[in-house]
């Protein structure tokens, strides 16, 4: 049954139905509503068998999550922005130890200058931390990706980050259908850890590894993470059979015969699809629910026929350009398609249908640069660039 609810509420209800046993969390905008709701469900007993740990920082949140997961508990947390950065060291430990923690990232810009609004700078800054990264296009996807994330994490013994656009999705009310508890219970069996940290049978995990084996450890971690490319779609198909909701690692929209293809992650995809629908055709859209590991073969297959691939980036790599574009260029190596990077919606700037259509008009007229910024206030930057700076 569909109901109209806030994205954060939908995520919290979904997480509760996945029966986490430990939730260590520290609040940060725009993640707060999610952990508040999970905490309230633990307190009122509707999320039974779960310990909610209020910690003093995000570093502590992830550290407690590592301990709980290593001790065999299904573990969940959520953060955003600077909070994710504060976790950075522990993130690598979670993946290095192969702990299937699931974490929501309510995507938000990172400072300075301080900015509470949505973009993907936070998650993209941690793209190489060894976690699976999933991105939700709408709140129904946020629900599905969380359920699949727990299954995928425990199947591969690897942590999974579910990225949900802050405010744009977390604070949006829209119709969603929560999978019923029985369906989730059937889909997601109780956590059976591969290795248990227990005083009964003491083991050491995360011991020092020297030059003789560190490369092999990393090689095997990459091999393991890559299982998620096909593994995601297999588990998503099972989820679809159980709930009727369709999610895939990579999805094409009107890509057959498209000369131009836009590649995007997250909630901006809906606006882009609406923008494309109003045009004459010839433009397709490819959306990635799975970003790490990068599903290069699938991306290549879907955009192989295009002349021009435009990657709409919700983050920016200063000194280089597009983050996702680099992966897309790698996936298309040897193909004639031109790849343009369009940085859009940094720090909460609205990405509008009109701006996307304007971008496409520029592309069709051959005016789109290799790297450009959607709706850049050129008067402001030119004035600043013309201002002499004292040394």
């Amino acid at each position: 049954m569909r109901s109209q609810m806030e994205g954060s509420r939908a995520i919290a209800e979904t997480v509760a139905r996945c029966r986490p046993q430990v939730v260590p969390a520290y609040p940060i905008t725009p993640q707060t509503h999610i952990v508040e709701a999970v905490g309230a469900m633990v307190k009122d007993g509707s999320l039974g068998g779960c310990e909610f740990i209020t910690v003093e920082s995000e570093f502590a949140a992830m550290s407690a999550a590592i301990g709980a997961s290593a001790a065999g508990a299904r573990t969940y947390t959520a953060t955003a922005s600077q909070g994710l950065l504060y976790m950075a060291e522990a993130l690598f430990n979670a993946s290095g130890l192969g702990l299937p923690i699931v974490m929501t990232v309510a995507n938000r810009a990172i400072g300075a200058p301080i900015n509470i609004w949505n973009d993907h700078s936070d998650a993209m800054s941690q793209r190489d931390c060894g976690w699976v990264q999933l991105y939700a296009e709408d709140n129904q996807a946020a629900i599905g990706l969380h359920v699949i994330a727990f299954r995928l994490a425990e199947h591969l013994s690897t942590p999974v980050m579910v990225c949900v656009d802050g405010f744009v999705l977390t604070h949006a009310f829209e119709p969603v259908e929560l999978p019923d508890r029985a369906a989730i219970d059937a889909y997601l069996p109780p956590f059976a850890p591969r290795q248990l940290l227990s005083p009964d049978e003491p083991v050491t995990i995360g011991a020092m590894v020297g030059p003789e084996a560190f490369t092999e450890v990393r090689y095997l971690a990459h091999h393991q993470l890559m299982q998620a490319v096909d593994g995601f779609d297999v588990l998503a198909a099972e989820y679809e059979a159980a709930t009727g909701h369709h999610h895939r690692a990579v999805s094409g929209y009107h890509v057959d015969g498209a000369r131009t293809v836009i590649v995007a992650l997250g909630s901006v995809a809906g606006t882009i699809k609406d923008a494309v629908d109003e045009l004459d055709g010839g433009t397709g859209v490819v959306t990635l629910s799975l970003y790490r590991p990068f599903p290069a073969d699938q991306v290549r297959r879907l955009v192989a026929g295009a002349d021009h691939v435009i990657v709409v980036e919700r983050a920016f790599a200063p000194g280089a350009g597009g983050v996702v574009s680099a992966d897309v260029r790698g996936a298309l190596a040897g193909l004639p398609a031109r790849v343009s990077t369009v940085v859009a919606g940094l720090g909460g700037r609205a990405v509008t249908k009109a701006s996307i259509q304007h971008m496409l008009a520029d592309a069709h007229a051959g005016r789109l640069a290799d790297l450009s910024f959607l709706d850049l206030r050129t008067d402001v930057v030119q004035r600043e660039l013309a201002t002499p700076r004292s040394r």
């Binding site: 109901s3 109209q4 806030e6 905008t29 509470i116 609004w117 709408d138 405010f167 744009v168 604070h171 949006a172 009310f173 829209e174 119709p175 909630s267 901006v268 995809a269 809906g270 606006t271 699809k273 609406d274 609205a350 990405v351 509008t352 249908k353």
Partner: protein, 204 residues
Amino acid sequence: MNPDGDTTFVPEVRQMFGIRIHGRGGQGAVTAAELLSVAAFLDGHEAQAFPSFGSERMGAPVASYCRIADKPIRLREPVTVPDAVIIIDATLVHHVDVFAGLPPHGYVLINSARGLDELGLAELTRRHERGRAITVGATDLAREHVGRPLPNICLLGAFAALTGMVTLASIEAAVRDRFRPRLAQANLRAAEAAYAAVRQVSHA
């Protein structure tokens, strides 16, 4: 418009209907948009609501948005060409461009016990189709029925009467689902009073 007296008549939404709500932090602009989306959903429509936070301060100008349609809503941009604006705080009208993008057939609902002329907005009467730009003294109604100057839910009753885009019955259901019974009941009395007042004016 609703047929006379029917608070449950659900209209067909041919195109997407966009609503922008202006208020100040703490006045319930975000809650109003959320409740409107729930009411529209209960009426059988697709609906979306989301906030545009300023800097999360009490008293700072804030805006919230609601879209109503009869097909799934994918668009995530702010409502820049609204079909209706609801202004919870009339002191904003000369400081924030609250009417930006509003076409002549659009609706204007301002919370004020004063008329448009008194607010210095006489041009709205000329620009908008007859009866589509109105003021309602929602703060006074809220004081009377709720005992506190919280006009947001009261304004939703006025909005239902003004536009016919949501039913009063669904607003009632949305409010009862969100608030404790006594608070919901008091707010709904204010909303019903505003609904009746607007219907009386627009049918005069």
